[in-house]
Symmetry: C2
Subunit: 140 residues, 2 copies
DNA sequence: GCTTGACTTCGAGCGCACTCGAAGTCGTAA
DNA sequence: TTACGACTTCGAGTGCGCTCGAAGTCAAGC
């Protein structure tokens, strides 16, 4: 395994990852590829399976709110080689803590929204919950 | 309960809600108050407890990613009175579905991050999980 | 040979949600 | 009376992450 890899076009990678072709090019321009994307003779991009795996994980980092800048840091560590494994681990653990905090806040907010929905349901006489209907209007 | 209410300054509301004073004024300018905020003789804002409760819920909607535009719609429904309760309910239920989808994606991404962290931990010989250490380097 | 369509680069534009700053107005305390 | 600090308005600026568009290249099929 050196150069011969499964090669995918940018549109295939877009389909596989759920990212747009624009976004894939943007990420590359932003320096977020671990290694340069190979090119066909036509200068079209050819993504290896490793590239695709990385784009998938990159998407995971993004969907949990890691800024592009932070991902850039991570990429630079990967490129510096095995000696940075501990640093990378620390970065990920730190991010995971942030994600857990975000998750907790969203869940708390979801509970508040649930509560409001229940209030409205009661007023409308639609007991979606096991609660007793009440009189009066909903606050807001 | 008509005019006499607990009255708070903007900075007190900022502290109570975790929103900045800038953000509170911005929301008001954006038309997100249910009713006009009362003013002291000095023209300083005086928030009623109902205002504060609404800002808290507004913060919940924002922290779950509801766009300002959508909140604006909701506010307009509230102002139109009791006849819009069903519409409001539908709006909230729709938003809740979106939040649940977002939550599921974040959780899936968190699992992927967990997995990567475990891989790194194994390589470093730090079995954070109940898994056996392995040889070779981490992919990325 | 000509069209079609998928790609290329690169700069510019966009949408969103704040965030800031300047200039002015109060009310209280020294 | 003078200073201070918390407020006011309103326009402009910021940061982020895409997203778009124009102009060009290339390979395959008719």
């Amino acid at each position: 395994m050196t150069t011969t890899e499964a090669e995918l076009t940018i549109s295939a990678v877009a389909e596989a990852t759920g990212l747009s072709v624009h976004t894939l090019r943007y990420y590359e321009r932003a320096g977020l590829m671990l290694t340069p994307v190979q090119r066909a003779s036509s200068s079209h991009r050819r993504y290896s399976s490793r590239d695709v795996a990385w784009m998938v994980f990159l998407g995971r980092l993004r969907s949990t709110g890691m800024p592009i800048r932070a991902i850039e840091q991570y990429v630079q560590l990967v490129r510096r080689g095995d000696s940075t494994v501990l640093e990378r681990l620390q970065l990920l653990v730190e991010h995971r803590e942030q994600v857990r905090r975000d998750l907790a806040e969203i869940q708390a907010s979801l509970a508040a929204i649930d509560h409001k929905i229940n209030s409205y349901s009661e007023v409308l006489g639609i007991p979606a919950d096991g609660t007793t209907p009440r009189e009066g209007t909903v606050t807001c």
